[in-house]
């Protein structure tokens, strides 16, 4: 009976929501039809043309110098430059959730695995962990040029930690990770305050943005994304380690 009521409510939600899809018309603004979006009406047209503070004309890859945001990847320019405050908030959400998991199931001695791990797996795991770390670092340092950024990069680093945790029986994540996590977060806030002091508003870019497409372009964007990558990597590794912890005996 409960399932029928739930199904009805879910269906009502579906009907209500679908009724307002493609409701855009000349006179009244609504949700445009899938694919027929007029970007000029939207805020993001200025993000694409990188002309939020002044009109920068046409941005050419590899040629435009000292553009407003400087990162070739427009999504990264929004996440780390135009709306960097959201990302700071979102890094805080991950930080507080990790702290919460540490409060709830942290501590306790390491959980023994039921199966004994074959030495071949242990050695090959070490090689793979090294490769994973390099790949993770690559992903978040090139966040402003290629897809991906701080978060996927950090998760790939956490994946290498997971591999080590699964393969090694007694491996515990070192306390250094807590220090790395905290200092990276604090560094992000310090960059924000530096922006406030140097250029007048919190989290404002104060480094030259170079030519679009180079590794060292886009001002503080790669710096912030590397900080996020290391922070997310440290945090999620700590979180995985908590999931491996044994429950404390009451």
């Amino acid at each position: 009976m409960k399932k029928v009521v739930a199904a009805i409510i879910a269906f009502l939600f579906f009907v209500m929501f679908v009724s307002i899809l493609n409701s855009d018309s000349k006179s009244l603004m609504g949700i445009p039809k899938f694919g027929e979006v007029n970007l000029a009406e939207r805020v993001s047209s200025r993000y694409i043309s990188k002309s939020v503070s002044e009109d920068a004309g046409e941005i050419i890859y590899g040629e435009t110098n000292n553009a407003e945001s400087g990162s070739a990847n427009m999504v990264t320019s929004i996440v780390v430059n135009y709306r960097s405050f959201d990302t700071l908030g979102e890094v805080t959400v991950l930080f507080i959730a990790t702290t919460g998991v540490a409060i709830l199931i942290g501590g306790g001695k390491r959980q023994r695995l039921a199966i004994s791990v074959n030495p071949i797996l242990k050695i090959s795991a070490r090689i793979i962990v090294a490769l994973l770390l390099v790949f993770g670092v690559y992903v978040f340092t090139h966040g402003h040029l290629t897809p991906g950024g701080g978060f996927p990069g950090g998760t790939i680093i956490a994946a290498s930690t997971l591999l080590m945790l699964v393969v090694e029986d007694d491996k515990r994540v070192s306390k250094l990770l807590k220090f790395l996590e905290g200092s990276m977060g604090f560094l992000y806030v310090v960059i924000g305050i530096a922006g406030l002091i140097i250029t007048g508003s919190f989290l404002q870019n104060f480094l030259p943005t170079g030519t679009i497409g180079n590794l060292f372009s886009a001002g503080i964007a790669p710096v912030v994304y590397s900080i996020i990558g290391l922070k997310v990597g440290a945090e999620l590794s700590g979180l995985l380690d908590d999931f491996f912890a044994e429950e404390e005996e009451k």
């Binding site: 929004i78 507080i96 990790t98 978060f151």
Partner: protein, 113 residues
């Protein structure tokens, strides 16, 4: 078309939240609902012949026709928030299992004094 499927996903997630009694299943339904929301947000930014919003040697000028990058930036944040909340939810499930011995809502004798 993907918009209708994403709204269906949200509806399936809501159905799961209302009908399931297993705590882990509730977290699964929550993830499905959030997946639907994220899919819907990105589908709002789709432009028919738009290109991937990354400047590269091939797509080298900002005057070309691009897909809307803002919903993608919003979804990046929403995905990570969803994972953070899921991790917290699962650790709460472990604590409930530890003290109540079960993860079925109707078996848990909540002290609703």
């Amino acid at each position: 078309m993907i918009q209708y499927f994403s709204v269906m996903l949200i509806a399936v997630g809501i159905y799961g939240l209302l009908s399931q009694k297993n705590l882990v299943k509730l977290v699964v339904s929550l993830n499905i609902a959030e997946l639907g929301v994220n899919l819907f947000i990105v589908s709002l930014g789709y432009v028919a012949e738009g290109k991937i919003p990354i400047l590269s040697p091939i797509v080298n000028s900002s005057s070309m026709n691009f897909v809307d990058p803002l919903p993608q930036a919003l979804v990046l944040t929403a995905i990570v928030i969803g994972v953070a909340v899921t991790a917290l939810a699962l650790s709460l499930v472990l604590k409930v299992k530890e003290s109540y011995g079960t993860i079925e809502l109707d078996e848990i004798r909540g002290d609703n004094s």
